[in-house]
Symmetry: C2
Subunit: 296 residues, 2 copies
């Protein structure tokens, strides 16, 4: 038995690099014309290793393309009030255009309160309810990094979405919910007939088999199998899970929510994991920061 | 051929009256205990007949259940700035808990600007993007009148939604979009597998035939026909269109988005038009106003 493997990879790493290069060119132009250089600040609370890695990657990406960046570090013992005052300070700091508070935060700090404390105009993470609402209402806003990254991938690869059936698996506030809204909006990409599936869905396969586009954001390793996808589908894999693998030096490998070997041969387009949606998130944050600088 | 007609009507008129009676009892309690009587204000611009009717009905409903109400009228010539200042005044007026600006507004006034000018805490219409975002994020907020009315109907009739397939036809910001979000949320009612269909959907019937719950909000008279619905479905009809009918004194009759005679016999529950979703809207507004008063 031979399997045709005519699918095309949606290369997030390459696309992300393309976007960063474009941004670097734009910053250079701004700089030459004496305009305002975008300035992103990041707030890091505590010393969680993963958070540190993420924040450093964001700061580094800023530097690489010519944005200004600032990093504010606080011990995990910082009181909620003190953090909220710091946020208020950043809201009022005209020298910066956008800032993020790296999540998760220590247990004694109410994350929702923090998200709502960030001024919507500087909320380049797109977490403030006002920005979520604007996204839903198709108004100009900051779309959060992962959904915005997926939208840009679809755009850059000129994937037709209008009138297509799109199934979003997962309804997290950070990916599933916004993706389902974005894909159904009267916009480009968008205009899909969107079905949101989740833990309560009786027979997910019934829906995915009818889908032209499947977006999986469950965080459940290799959930989407070959028998769940129709030929020619576009598959976006948002999951990323470490799976023990003794054959690797690190002792683990990264797998997505899609059983790639089975699903890819049936696809027209598919994102790899790693190197698909993941690398797009920082590019999204940078794009939001540029937009914040422009509208400031 | 005989047709079984075992469906039950979702009686919005009765349910709305029940809710108003409950609110009246609550206001009486509040009054006796020296608490704050809820106070709703309405802003009416111009002299559009329909708007006048709606606003008067809202004011009258307030009076009937013991809420305070105020009506602010302005000529259609009012400048946008002047209206925005008035809204700012109402935002800061501690004597009232919620207010609405009746839509539509004259062409020279930007409705979106007006919606965003109303303080989210007093936005009992639930139109501010912050409140739309909170609704999406399942946070406490004001849900706008029509979607909230539908949610309450489902609740009062104890209709099981968890794990059901729900198809929402239409993606308007005022009904389709919020309903699709509400039905998919991890909440009760909610937890449906939701599909949003709209003008770009290729084959709506394919989706509706698989739906346990169909919510039609297109504004297209008798769009949903008997062949599009499966046996036992719950059908919510949000449309209301005047159709010429010489046999009526008025010269017209009101029809919904559902071809009732065909669809009802297949249903377990269905809303009539009129007397279904329509009457629920004022009850929703009143409930939001009470909530605003309580949290003020």
């Amino acid at each position: 038995m031979t399997t045709e493997t005519t699918y095309q990879l949606l290369d997030g790493k390459q696309t992300s690099n393309d976007i960063k290069e474009e941004l670097a060119i734009e910053v250079e132009k701004i700089s030459k014309s004496g305009g305002t250089i975008p300035h992103l600040a990041a707030v890091l609370v505590g010393d969680d290793g993963a958070s540190e890695t993420y924040v450093n990657a964001k700061v580094k990406a800023c530097e690489k393309i010519g944005f200004k960046s600032s990093l504010y570090r606080y011990p995990s013992s910082i009181a909620e009030d003190a953090l909220l005052s710091k946020i208020e300070e950043l809201n009022n700091d005209d020298s910066l255009h956008g800032f993020i508070v790296q999540l998760p935060l220590p247990d004694h700090i109410d994350e929702q309160k923090v998200k709502e404390a960030v001024s919507p105009e500087k909320d380049v993470d797109g977490f403030h309810p006002e920005n979520v609402g604007k996204m839903a209402l198709n108004l100009p806003t900051f779309i959060s990094a992962t959904p915005y990254g997926i939208v840009q991938l679809l755009e850059r690869y000129s994937i037709e979405t209008s009138g297509k059936n799109c199934v979003v698996i997962g309804r997290s506030h950070i990916v599933g919910l916004p993706m389902s809204i974005l894909m159904a909006r009267k916009a480009k990409p968008g205009n899909c007939t969107v079905t949101v599936c989740h833990s309560r869905t009786q027979n997910i396969k019934e829906f995915t088999l009818n889908a032209d586009i499947v977006i999986v954001a469950l965080g459940s390793a290799e959930f989407l199998t070959g028998d769940m996808v129709k030929d020619g589908a576009v598959v976006i894999d948002v999951g990323i899970t470490r799976v023990k693998d003794d054959s690797k030096k690190s002792g683990y490998r990264l797998v997505g929510d899609v059983k790639f070997d089975e699903v890819a041969p049936k696809c027209s387009y598919i994102t790899p994991v790693p190197g698909g949606v993941g690398p797009m998130t920082i590019a999204s944050l940078l794009k939001n920061t540029l937009q914040a600088a422009k509208s400031s």
